[in-house]
C-alpha cells in the first residue's frame, strides 16, 4: 500500500484573540491609515446593521439578515478585491458591496422590497444578491470563464455560507473551476449556523476548506474575526487567480452573533452561552484594542466615529424612507429588453388596478 495523495489545510491569523500581532503583519497592516480605514468600515457596518434591525422591528423594513459579528469577513473581503475584479455576493454582503460603489440606501431598498436596491450604483459587473442558496458559485465560474476568454487580467470572488457548500451547484462550480483553471476565489462565510442547522450537522468534513482538495486546488481556513488576516488572504488568493488562473477556497471562520434573519429566533436552537463566549473574539473589539494599544485610537476618536457613522446611516435611512415605491407597471418594464406587444394589455390593466391599502 502506498499513499497517493495527502493534503494540508493551513490556518491564518494575524492578530490573535488578545489583539497581539503574530509575527510580522502583512505590509498594508503596517500602515495605520489602512487599519483605521478597515476599522471605520466595520463600525459603520455594525451601526447600519443595528439600525436595519430596529427598522424591521418598527415595521419600516421587511425581513433582514444581520451581519453582526461577521464585519471582518465582509470588510476584509471588500478591501482585498481590486476595483476591476468582479464580486458575486450571497445576501449578507453589503459590507463588501459598499466598498464597490453600492450605497447603504440600496440595501434598505432591497430588503424594503424594491428591485432598485439591486442597482449598486455605477457598478456594472458585480452580481446582485443570490437568495437561492449556493446557486451563485456557478455564476462566478461563468464570469471567470468569460474573463479568461477575453484574456482580461481580473478575477472573480464569490461568497456563500457554509450551508451553501452542501448544495450540488457548489461542487459543480468548484469542479469546473479546478479543471478549467478559472480565475475565481470561493469565499465561504462559515459563521457556524445555517438557520438552525449547526456546522456539525452540515458536513462531517473536518474543514470546509478541504473541499477544495477534491476540486483539485488549495483551501485554507482564516480567522474570520481578524480583519487583517481576511484582507491579507483574499488579496493573495485574488492575485493567484489573476496571475496563475488558480482557484482557491477561503474558509472564513467566524460566528453568527444574531438570528438568521429578523424573523428567526435563535433561542429555539442555539445552546446557551455560546454566543457570549464567541463574542470575546469579535472583530471590532479585536482591532480596536490593537489600535488603542498602539496609540492609533482613543475614546474621543471612538465617540466621534460613532457619531459620524450614525449620521451616515441616518442619511441612508432618510433616503430610503423618502424613496417612493415604483409605479406598479414597472413590474413589466424589465421583463424583456422590450416588452412584447401581447403583454401591453396587462401592463395597462395594472396601471389602473386598485389595491387594498397595506402597511
Amino acid at each position: 500500500m502506498k499513499v497517493v495523495a495527502q493534503f494540508e489545510i493551513p490556518y491564518y491569523q494575524c492578530l490573535n484573540e488578545s489583539s497581539t500581532a503574530i509575527g510580522e503583519l502583512p505590509k498594508f497592516a503596517q500602515d495605520p491609515k489602512q487599519l483605521l480605514h478597515l476599522y471605520r468600515l466595520m463600525v459603520l457596518i455594525r451601526i447600519f446593521d443595528s439600525k436595519a434591525i430596529a427598522l424591521q422591528r418598527t415595521g419600516k423594513l421587511g425581513t433582514y439578515p444581520s451581519t453582526r459579528g461577521q464585519e471582518a469577513m465582509f470588510v476584509g473581503l471588500g478591501a482585498g478585491l481590486a476595483k476591476e475584479d468582479i464580486f458575486v455576493p450571497y445576501y449578507r454582503d453589503f459590507g463588501t458591496l459598499i466598498q464597490r460603489g453600492a450605497k447603504l440606501s440600496d440595501f434598505l431598498l432591497y430588503w424594503g422590497g424594491d428591485e432598485r436596491g439591486n442597482s449598486f450604483g455605477k457598478n456594472n459587473h458585480d452580481f446582485p444578491f443570490s437568495v437561492p442558496v449556493g446557486s451563485q458559485p456557478l455564476h462566478a465560474a461563468g464570469i471567470a470563464t468569460a474573463l479568461k476568454i477575453h484574456k482580461q487580467p481580473h478575477a472573480v470572488a464569490v461568497v456563500c455560507g457554509e450551508g451553501g457548500t452542501s448544495e450540488g451547484d457548489f461542487y459543480e462550480a468548484m469542479n469546473v473551476a479546478g479543471v478549467w483553471k478559472l480565475p475565481v476565489v470561493f469565499v465561504v462565510n462559515n459563521n457556524q449556523w445555517a438557520i438552525s442547522v449547526p456546522r456539525s450537522a452540515q458536513s462531517s468534513a473536518q474543514t470546509i476548506a478541504q473541499k477544495a482538495i477534491a476540486a483539485g486546488f488549495s483551501g485554507e481556513q482564516v480567522d474570520g474575526n481578524d480583519v487583517i488576516a481576511v484582507r491579507y488572504r483574499v488579496e493573495e488568493a485574488m492575485k493567484k487567480a489573476r496571475e496563475n488562473h488558480e482557484p482557491t477556497l477561503l474558509e472564513i471562520v467566524c460566528y453568527r452573533q444574531s438570528d438568521h434573519t429578523t424573523a428567526d429566533d435563535a433561542r429555539r436552537y442555539e445552546p446557551e452561552g455560546i454566543r457570549e463566549q464567541e463574542w470575546t473574539k469579535e472583530p471590532i473589539g479585536r482591532l480596536k484594542k490593537y489600535l488603542e494599544d498602539n496609540q492609533f485610537w482613543d475614546a474621543e476618536k471612538e465617540q466621534q466615529l460613532q457619531t459620524e457613522c450614525a449620521a451616515e446611516v441616518d442619511v441612508a435611512v432618510a433616503e430610503y424612507i423618502n424613496t417612493k415605491p415604483q409605479a406598479p407597471e414597472s413590474m413589466f418594464d424589465n421583463l424583456y429588453a422590450s416588452l412584447p406587444e401581447i403583454y401591453l394589455e396587462q401592463r395597462e390593466d395594472v396601471k389602473h388596478k386598485e389595491v387594498p391599502v397595506h402597511g
Binding site: 422590497g113 424594491d114 451553501g164 448544495e167 450540488g168 438557520i195
Partner: protein, 326 residues
C-alpha cells in the same frame, strides 16, 4: 375541540400518520429542532426522534433524491422544501425519477413520496419566496399536485397524500397558513384526492379556484349574494389529476365560468380548464370562460406585491362580464 390554523392542521396530520405508520419519515431543512421555518413540523422531533424527523444539510436536489431512494425501499418520506422557489434544483429528481420510476419498472418499484412546500405570494417576503408554478408540475405525467385551502382540507388532503402510493407535490399557500382557524378533529380521516370540493352552491356563475385565492373568491361570492347573484364556488384542491366532471356539471347548471388563480396567466392551469370546458361544455355556455390570474411577470418585491395578486375587484369585474354578456 381547539380551533387550529392551516399550518397547525398540517402538523396534526403529520403527527397522526407518523403515529399509525412507522414508515413515515420527515426530512427537510430546519424541520427538526426549529420545527420548520413556518413551524409546520413543530414538536415532531420531540415526539418521534431524530431518526424519523431529519434535519438535512442544505441541498434541495439531495432532499428529493434521498426521498426517492427511501420510498423505493419501504419508507414513506414526507420531504419539505423550504419554499417553492427553492424546489428548482430538485426538478431533475422529481421529473426524471419520482414521476416515472413506477412506469419504468412496470410497477416493480414505486415512489410514495410527498414533496411539501409553502407557495404563493402575499407574505411580503424577499424575492424568490412567492412562486406559484404549480402548472409546471401539473404538466408532468406521473405526479399528483394537491393544494389545500383551509385547515380542515389541509389535514384531510395531507393524510391522503401521505397514504397515496404515488408522488404528490403538496403546495401550501403561505398566506393562508395562519389566516383563520377551524375545528379540525384529529380522527385520521383523509379527504379524497382527485376530486374538487364545492364550497358554496349557486346557480348564476361557476367560480373555479384553488389555494389562497379561495379566500378572495369566497368573499366576492358572499358580496354578490347580497346583490342577487348566486355564485357556485369550486375549490379544485387536486390540480392534477383534474376532476373536470365536477366543474362541467356546475357549468352545465350555471352556463358561466370564471377561473381564478394567483399563478401567471400564460399556460396557467386555468388555460387547461378553459380548454376542457370548450371541448366538453361549450353548448352550455352563455358567455366566454374568463380567467382572473396573476400577471405574466416575475412577482414584484414586497412594495408592489399587492398589485400582482389578483384582487377582489378584478374577480368582480370578470363576473360582471359574464353576467352581462348575454
Amino acid at each position: 375541540m381547539a380551533e387550529i390554523t392551516l399550518v397547525e392542521a398540517l402538523t396534526q396530520a403529520m403527527a397522526y400518520e407518523m403515529r399509525v405508520d412507522s414508515a413515515v419519515i420527515l426530512l427537510g431543512e430546519d424541520i427538526g429542532k426549529d420545527g420548520g421555518v413556518f413551524r409546520a413540523t413543530l414538536g415532531l422531533l420531540d415526539k418521534f426522534g431524530p431518526e424519523r424527523v431529519r434535519d438535512t444539510p442544505l441541498a434541495e436536489s439531495m432532499i428529493a433524491g434521498l426521498a426517492i431512494g427511501m420510498a423505493a425501499y419501504g419508507l414513506k418520506p414526507v420531504a419539505e422544501f423550504q419554499f417553492m422557489g427553492f424546489i428548482y434544483p430538485a426538478l431533475d429528481q422529481i421529473i426524471n425519477h419520482a414521476a416515472r420510476i413506477r412506469n419504468r419498472t412496470r410497477g416493480r418499484l414505486s415512489c410514495p413520496v410527498v414533496f411539501r412546500a409553502p407557495y404563493g405570494a402575499g407574505i411580503r417576503a424577499p424575492e424568490h419566496h412567492s412562486e406559484s408554478t404549480e402548472a409546471m408540475f401539473a404538466h408532468t405525467p406521473g405526479l399528483r399536485v394537491v393544494i389545500p385551502s383551509s385547515p380542515k382540507r389541509a389535514y384531510g388532503l395531507l393524510l391522503a397524500a401521505i397514504r397515496d402510493p404515488d408522488p404528490v407535490i403538496f403546495l401550501e399557500p403561505s398566506r393562508l397558513y395562519r389566516w383563520a382557524k377551524q375545528e379540525v378533529p384529529d380522527d385520521g380521516e383523509a379527504l379524497p384526492l382527485d376530486v374538487c370540493f364545492t364550497l358554496r352552491q349557486g346557480t348564476d356563475v361557476t367560480l373555479v379556484t384553488w389555494g389562497a385565492m379561495v379566500k378572495e373568491t369566497l368573499a366576492v361570492a358572499d358580496k354578490l349574494s347580497k346583490e342577487g347573484i348566486s355564485a357556485e364556488v369550486i375549490d379544485v384542491a387536486t390540480i392534477k389529476p383534474l376532476d373536470m366532471n365536477t366543474i362541467l356539471e356546475s357549468v352545465e347548471k350555471t352556463g358561466r365560468c370564471v377561473i381564478i388563480h394567483e399563478a401567471p396567466r400564460t399556460c396557467g392551469v386555468g388555460a387547461d380548464i378553459s380548454a376542457q370546458i370548450a371541448e366538453r361544455g361549450l353548448m352550455f355556455l352563455k358567455a366566454p370562460v374568463q380567467r382572473v390570474t396573476g400577471y405574466d411577470t416575475i412577482v414584484p418585491y414586497a412594495r408592489l406585491e399587492r398589485y400582482y395578486i389578483p384582487s377582489e375587484q378584478q374577480i368582480l369585474n370578470a363576473i360582471n362580464n359574464v353576467m352581462e354578456f348575454a
